[in-house]
Structure formats: C-alpha cells, structure tokens
C-alpha cells in the first residue's frame, strides 16, 4: 500500500471485484432478466390470453372473490394492463385466534382470472418473478442472509466502481479502444469499454440497489429518531394500520366509478392495484394505487375510499423531499416506469454490466497466468478461480435456458411443479460446475458455452412442439411477445455459440483464448 494512490486503488479494485464477482455476475444476469419479468411470466404461462378493460375486469374479479372468499381479511387485485393481460388476485384469509399459522401454498391464496371473472388454469410456475426475486433473495437460503450477502456484494461493487474510475487515467480514451485478438490487452479493453459504456448506469443501479434495502443495511438513521422501526413506518405509511372488523355487514359500492375518480385525480394514469380490507363489512376500505408505469417514483400515490359509501377517506399525502428522493431512487432501480424503448436500454445496460463483471473475472486469470511460476501446473487458488469463472459465466445462463425448457417439458399436473422448474435451473448450473472441474480447462470452456448455446437454441423448438403459440403463429396473429421471445433465445444461442467457437479456434497458449463475453453484447 506504499506504492501510491493509483496502485492501492488498483489492488482494491482487483480484490473486491474478485471476491464478489461471481455473485455480482449472477445478480446482473437475473436483474437484467427481471426488467422483462412480466413478459417472461406471460411466456411461461401461455394459457393466459385474456385481454379486457381494467374496470369491468376488476368488477368481475370482485364478484369472483365475493363468491369464493367472502370471509377473507383482505383482497388484493391487480387489474389487467398492457404488460399483463390477466387479472391477478390474492387474498389474506381470516386469521383465527389461536390457530396455527399453517404454511400455505401459493395457489391456495391467489388466482389468475380472465376479463369476466373466470379462473384461468395455468401451469404452475413462478415465471419471471422468480428471476426477479433471485436477484436479491437468492434461493435455498434464508432471505435475510441472502439480503445481507447481496448488500455486501453491492457495497463491494460501489467501491470497485469508484476505485476502478480512479485507476483509469485515460477513461475517455479507453472508451474508443477495443483491440481484438490481443489476449490480455483485449480482455482489458472489453472490461474498460463495457465499464465506460454505461458507467452512469452502473453507479446509479448500484447505489439505488443499496437504497432499496437501505433500512435493512443502515437502520441507524431511523434508530436515531425512533424507538422502533415500527413507529417510523406507522408515521410514514399511516394506512398500514389495520381497522377492526365491526361484524355489521354492508354491501360495497361498485369499483368502476372509484377507479374513474382516481384516474381523473392522477391526470389519466391507470389504477395499478386495488386493495379491499374487511370486505362486506361497514368498516371496509378500498385502496387504489397508481400504476407504476406512469411516474418514476416507486411509491405510487394512493387513494382510500370507504367501501360501503364510496366516500373518499384519504387522498395521496404529499411527501417531503427526502422521501420523494428515496421513492424515485427505488423507482429508477426497478425501472417499472419505463416504456418499451427505455426498458430495452435498461436491458442492454444490464447486459453491458454482465459483460463488464464477466470480463473482469476472466481478466483476473488471464493477467496472472503469464506470471505463474509454472503455467502448466497452476496453484489451487488460480485453478479455483478459473473453474468458478466457467461455472458462473456459462453455467447460470445455461440454467436459465433450462428453467424455460422445464416450464414447457414438466407435466402440468406434477406436484411441486413450480419448485421443480427452479430445481432444473440449479441442477443445470451445478452440472456445469462439476463439468468445469472435471474437464481440461479449455475443453470445459468450449463445452459449457456450447451447452448454453444448445439449450437456448432448443427453447424455441421445444416451445413450438409443446405449445400452440410460437414465432410463426405470433407473426400471423400479432402475438409479438412470442415472436420477440423466440428471437431473443436464438440471439442468445448465437452469442454463446460464437463464444464457444471463439474459445475453440484460438490457438497458442490457452491464456490468449476465451473472449467469451464480447459476443453477448450482440445477443
């Protein structure tokens, strides 16, 4: 650390990057995919084709809940929107004093309805939502641990970005420098170009990511002013408090006019969700929240009405500067406000980040291989990094392709079907790891990348064989989601295929080889 500022920053960048690189890679992959989580979910539930106007569909959903769940504590309805044509409902069953809190399966408290209140039977899947949750909750481990781990990774990322910026003297010139076929130099160029390409995005996404879970990571700001976090949240979100059911029954007003009032109040913005507490009781309240795609802030405005009379109880409370800033930061991270153009930019920036992290990981090995005392017999740590790189960079994408395939191939009546889709992802990932350990280094790269390419290429084929909606039918009927999904899968297949070829044709020392990641920019 005595070699001057830039050197110590370079060391800091290298080691923070390596330590959390694999986790960050996985977070980038699943986070990027999550920008299309609604679309992925739609693709994974091809049975859902309903389209309907939001207000009648919501009324129909209420009628369905009225019939099936009249005693629930609350109902929660997501009206159909441009990104999800179905009406999603879930409910909180009445809590009975002293009763054991039984573990409920998802389908016991939720349903997917069409525009006229009929249940749409779909294959059991967690869809794109799983990729979104994996991004910060991981899987097979307690959520709280996962969130601390993910937060530590994000903090390392922030430090890696800052030290990376400091390390680069010619950050602007580097952006125009991409030298192919030059081994280590090329890897460094790829790392620099992808890093500078969307640098403001990485800074924004890392910082706002930390902000989404800030009260978990840094609870001391609230602790300094409040005896407990609950007091804080009760002050900030006053409608969180539950009102007691009175026991006196009362019919509820129709939902349509309330939605119209809200939309007028919000200058034409749609209603994103409807929550009804204590349905069919005089104490019933109807909370309407603004759709997420109409403003950047993540905390959409809400309006609360009395269920029995339709009287407005509370309009949107104006929030202060700090709260509004936080809301916008979280909104910027989640990107729910983004239209199609911006959404694709988010996606491409995410892929850029994935390549940046991936090329950084590979660069670590490429840089050190030449300096090894005996390059043919590297030490354990070096081999470990090499193999984990293969497993992370080729394994997770292969796993995601397997997740899509499992969605089409697992029998629809299977028990724990949604769980087995997820297991398929991790089994594939684990298989690639084992393969990467078992095979010679270069063969392992080639074969893992080829596997990922093959799995992505087979998604459109398997889809066409198992489901009646695909690229061709989509083009004829205007079902663009299925067209876009197939094209995306083929592009990923091409990208990984190109990488596998590249890895196999590069001659000379293995060190000069694998430019796995550049191609993914095309995909």
């Amino acid at each position: 650390m005595k070699n001057g500022f830039r050197q110590s920053m370079a060391a800091l960048h290298t080691w923070t990057g390596l330590l959390f690189g694999w986790l960050l890679f996985a977070m980038f992959v699943t986070g990027t995919a999550a920008y299309f989580q609604e679309e992925i979910s739609r693709w994974m539930r091809p049975e859902v084709v309903a389209t309907a106007a939001p207000a009648p569909a919501t009324q129909a959903a209420i009628a369905w809940l009225q019939k099936t769940q009249p005693d629930a504590d609350s109902w929660f309805i997501t009206p159909p929107s441009a990104r999800n044509p179905a009406t999603e409902v879930f409910w909180q069953p009445r809590t009975v004093e002293g009763e054991q809190h039984a573990r409920r399966r998802r389908n016991d408290t939720s349903a997917t309805l069409d525009g006229i209140g009929r249940v749409v039977t779909t294959r059991e899947t967690r869809g794109g939502f799983f990729l979104y949750r994996f991004h910060f909750d991981l899987h097979y481990m307690p959520v709280l641990w996962a969130r601390y781990l993910v937060g530590a990774a994000a903090m390392f990322m922030l430090v890696a970005i800052l030290s990376g910026i400091i390390t680069h003297k010619k950050i602007f010139a580097d952006f125009f420098m991409l030298r192919f076929g030059k081994g280590q130099r090329s890897w460094l160029d790829v790392h620099n170009v992808t890093a500078v390409f969307a640098l403001p995005f990485y800074l924004m996404i890392t910082y706002t990511g930390l902000v989404t879970l800030a009260t978990l990571y840094m609870p001391w700001g609230i602790a300094a002013n409040y005896a407990s976090p609950e007091t804080f949240f009760a002050e900030v979100f006053p409608n969180g408090g539950e009102t007691q059911r009175t026991g006196t029954a009362a019919a509820m007003v129709p939902i349509g006019p309330l939605m119209a009032v809200a939309t007028r109040e919000w200058a034409g913005a749609a209603v994103g969700s409807v929550q009804i507490a204590n349905p069919n009781d005089v104490s019933a309240t109807i909370t309407l929240r603004r759709a997420a795609d109409t403003a950047i802030g993540a905390r959409g405005e809400s309006m609360v009405f009395a269920g029995a009379t339709g009287r407005m109880i509370r309009g949107g409370a104006p929030e202060g500067g700090a709260m509004a800033t936080q809301s916008v930061m979280i909104g910027l991270h989640a990107g729910r406000y983004a239209g199609w153009g911006l959404r694709w930019l988010y996606f491409l920036s995410g892929i850029g980040g994935t390549i940046m992290v991936g090329s950084g990981l590979v660069l670590w090995t490429v840089k050190r291989r030449a300096k090894l005392p005996d390059p043919t017999r590297p030490h354990f740590g070096f081999r470990l990094v090499e193999r984990l790189n293969i497993a992370a960079i080729a394994g997770l994408p292969a796993g995601i392709a397997a997740y899509f395939l499992a969605n089409r191939l697992l029998p629809t009546g299977m028990t724990a079907r949604a769980e087995w889709e997820i297991h398929s992802l991790f089994l594939t990932w684990a298989a690639v790891l084992l393969w990467a350990i078992a095979r010679p280094y270069r063969r392992a790269w080639i074969e893992s990348l080829a596997l990922a390419a093959g799995l992505f290429a087979s998604v459109p084929v398997v889809n066409a064989l198992t489901v009646s909606r695909n690229m061709l039918t989509g083009m004829m009927t205007g079902d663009w989601l299925f067209v876009a999904f197939d094209i995306a899968m083929l592009l990923f297949a091409l990208g990984f295929g190109w990488a596998a070829r590249k890895a196999s044709t590069v001659n000379a020392k293995p060190a000069r080889g694998m430019r796995t990641m550049q191609n993914m920019a095309a995909a």
Partner: protein, 104 residues
C-alpha cells in the same frame, strides 16, 4: 499476489498492516458511517422522518468514501487513530443530542 510484492519486508508490522486496513475499512468504516448517519438524522433541519431517510440515503456514499480513503492512506496506525477520533466525536455528539432530548 500483488500483495506479496508490496509487503516485501516481512516484518510483523508489514504482515498485520493489510488485515488491519481491511478490518478498519469494513468494520471501522461501517461503525463511523452508522454514527455519522445517526448524527445527521438528528441534526438535519427537517421533520424526523425526513431527516432519518435523508441521512440513510447518504449513508452508502459516506461508507464508500471512508473505504476509499482508508485504502489510499499511508499509515495503518493513522487510519485507526482517525477512525477512533471520528467515532468519539460523532458518538459524543449523538449522546449529547439524545440527552438534550427532542426527538425519539
């Protein structure tokens, strides 16, 4: 590997210098950041909820700044002296602020 080159004279001081620096950055940095955030939450001239949120939003920038400063500083000893001085100062300010009442 880069590490070995830097710590060439393998004296005890050189060997514990890096772990102490890492510990200072991760643990010491978090501690000082927490105290700074708590102080900010109490002294920022806005509603309590607003001040709490504003301080929390700034926390990661403070933390990252401290980490970068620690890794660029020359002497480990000086890092720890600075950390302790900052902790004492902020801790005292927080203690005084809570004693004199107001929020909470």
């Amino acid at each position: 590997m880069a590490r070995k080159r830097i710590a060439a004279p393998e004296s005890l001081a050189a060997r514990i210098s890096l772990p102490l620096r890492i510990l200072g950055a991760i643990v010491g940095g978090y501690g000082v950041t927490s105290l700074a955030v708590a102080c900010l939450a109490r002294i920022l001239p806005m509603r309590a909820a607003e001040a709490s949120v504003a301080a929390t939003l700034a926390s990661f920038a403070i933390y990252a700044g401290i980490i970068v400063a620690i890794f660029s500083a020359r002497s480990v000893l000086r890092i720890w002296l600075w950390l302790m001085a900052a902790a004492l100062l902020l801790g005292a300010a927080l203690y005084w602020s809570i004693l004199t009442g107001g929020r909470l």
